[in-house]
Symmetry: C2
Subunit: 116 residues, 2 copies
Amino acid sequence: MSVDLPEPLTEPVAEDLRLETIMGALADPLRLTIVRKLMLESEAYDHSCGWFGFDRPKSSLTHHFKALREAGLIRQRQYGLERRSRLRTEELNARFPGLLDLVAHWEPASSKKKSG
Amino acid sequence: MSVDLPEPLTEPVAEDLRLETIMGALADPLRLTIVRKLMLESEAYDHSCGWFGFDRPKSSLTHHFKALREAGLIRQRQYGLERRSRLRTEELNARFPGLLDLVAHWEPASSKKKSG
């Protein structure tokens, strides 16, 4: 079903995605958590910041979501005052097969028995 | 065949490897190049810095190799005045299946037709 959606915010086109940039964007537990949650739990619509349930300042979250968008991992659209996100699953799987599997199997350090 | 090798320099044990740290270490074209070359071209011995043929200051290379070792991607041993490296292939494949395939398929931006 096709619906009218707001235009995506600026993002790299699929052929310009770079592994080193993707790696840099994923070198952070919060960003891995965002991508993993979008991959494993999202429905087929754009998700607002609040959906993730993070206990973080909004400015910090905005920064992390923007980093993921600029690296090409997520697509963001502006719905009124709110930016909502979805994973660029098909493009990522086409360009970097296995990348999302790595993220799917990741778990935060604090959930391990041996917490530091 | 078992031979006596110098002790490895300090490195994280396999179960302490973290995807976010690995990603951070690979968020750099030179480091991707090092890992890729070790993966695709190395023989079954430790390779010195010079083997890679980089036209970079030694201090810069030392820094990048150290970052890869501390993230758990490479093992380094001290041979006299020289540090030599090899990839931790088996441990990486066991902990992060598909990661090395991503690196194997990576190519530097400058080798693409559309160079910026």
